[in-house]
Amino acid sequence: MIASMKDNDELQMNAYCDGELDPASAIEFERRLAADETLKAQYNRLLSLRRTVRSLPQFGVPAGLQARIQSALDADRPSQVDRPGWASRPVQAGRPRQRSWSFQALAAAAVFGAVISSSVMLTMERYDRQEDVARAVVAGHIRGLLAPQPFDVASSDRHTVKPWFTSHLPLSPQVPDLAAQGFVLEGGRVDVVGHDPVATIVYKHAKHTVSLTTLPRGQSVSDQAIAGYNVRSWSDAEFTYIAVSDISSEDLASFERAFSEGSPAPEIK
């Protein structure tokens, strides 16, 4: 072999390929990539390998496995109370996989494009920031589910929840009661996104929890599934809203409609 890559280069190239280099090192690496033919050939080979591996057929969960697992669990804990949500789950389990393919295509395209133009890096960085926001919001939702209760203030009365937010946060959203539309107000909590405390309104739909996190306007994220939860985001004049729940994306869409219609015009003080 003619030019063996130094180990460090090899690691850097892999980290760059995986989007794990910090922005400064990534730009530096792109500069080298543009100047070094050997390095570029190695990198193209790595991308080619990635495409090949990712194009392998993915295994779907076999029919009946869920049922087998459920009966195994039932046998394990016969006194276990019934677990709502199980029946609706198989559909949910399939969804993130489909999503991840379109994400994959996007990521591969982004990585490939970065070789040609470093301006793509800016887009990727912005994308990463959005991803971080989405992940932080979903993490808040999961923490909420794991806590004894998913809210800091429990009330189905919006005249209790709204003032609670106002007293705890610099910006507080409208808190509409959407019980008529099937989304019962449960309460509110404070989540932390980045370093900022933000208001999260908690609703219950059937037996599912819906967390609605409100961020200052302009931080909307793409609609997606993260860790099995559907994420839906929209904005109005004041806030960007990110709804997270394990209900279907259709139900989440009707939640958005209900919330947008139910949200009274901003009060003038």
Binding site: D18, E37, A41, V53, L56, G85, W86, P96, G228
Partner: protein, 172 residues
């Protein structure tokens, strides 16, 4: 609780199990066993990352299952002698040197070749590649699941990919 934490990751759990065990039947057993472990251990779940937690259980279940049922089929790099490890790290599986860039066209390997090459990799290399490419996890999550430092994840990924490239190149 179990519904919220483990079940959303069933599809991924199954995919990981299939890659680690190498076939669909074993993967079903592993996922079922892992689900049971997760169900029993759900009280110990304190982390935020339900996905990593679930996949960690699947991964560990897959390995103990493999060691129990097919110990000969799994190669761990730790099992090799230092000389063998050295050789593997530097030369690849068959002592073939890495091709020079000029010789390398884009891969024309079909799915079967790639699957076979992946199956030939020692387990520690295969799992990081599967977690990265199939499950699309970041380095931090992979490190958490495989219980090694991020630096080790990086070098295993890098080395594993080199081995794959060599294996696929050898085919011609």
């Amino acid at each position: 609780m179990f519904d919220e934490v483990f079940l959303p990751h069933m599809a991924e759990a199954y995919r990981l199990a299939q890659w680690l065990t190498g076939n669909a039947y074993d993967a079903e057993d592993v996922v079922q066993d892992a689900a049971l472990r997760a169900f029993r251990g759900i009280k110990s779940f304190g982390a935020v990352n339900a996905r990593a937690w679930s996949l960690t259980i699947v991964r560990n279940t897959a390995y103990s299952w493999l060691l129990k049922n097919k110990s000969k089929a799994v190669v761990f790099t730790d099992d090799l002698s230092p000389a063998e490890q050295q050789k593997l790290e530097h030369e690849g599986l068959h002592g073939a040197s890495v091709e020079t860039p000029e010789e390398i066209a884009l891969f024309k390997a079909d799915a079967e070749d790639v699957q076979r090459a992946l199956a030939q990799l020692p387990a520690h290399f295969r799992e990081v590649i599967v977690l990265r490419e199939m499950n699309q996890l970041n380095y931090r999550d992979i490190a958490e699941i495989t219980n090694v430092p991020i630096g080790t994840v990086m070098s295993r990924l890098s080395r594993g990919r080199q081995l794959l490239i060599t294996l696929l190149g050898d085919r011609k």
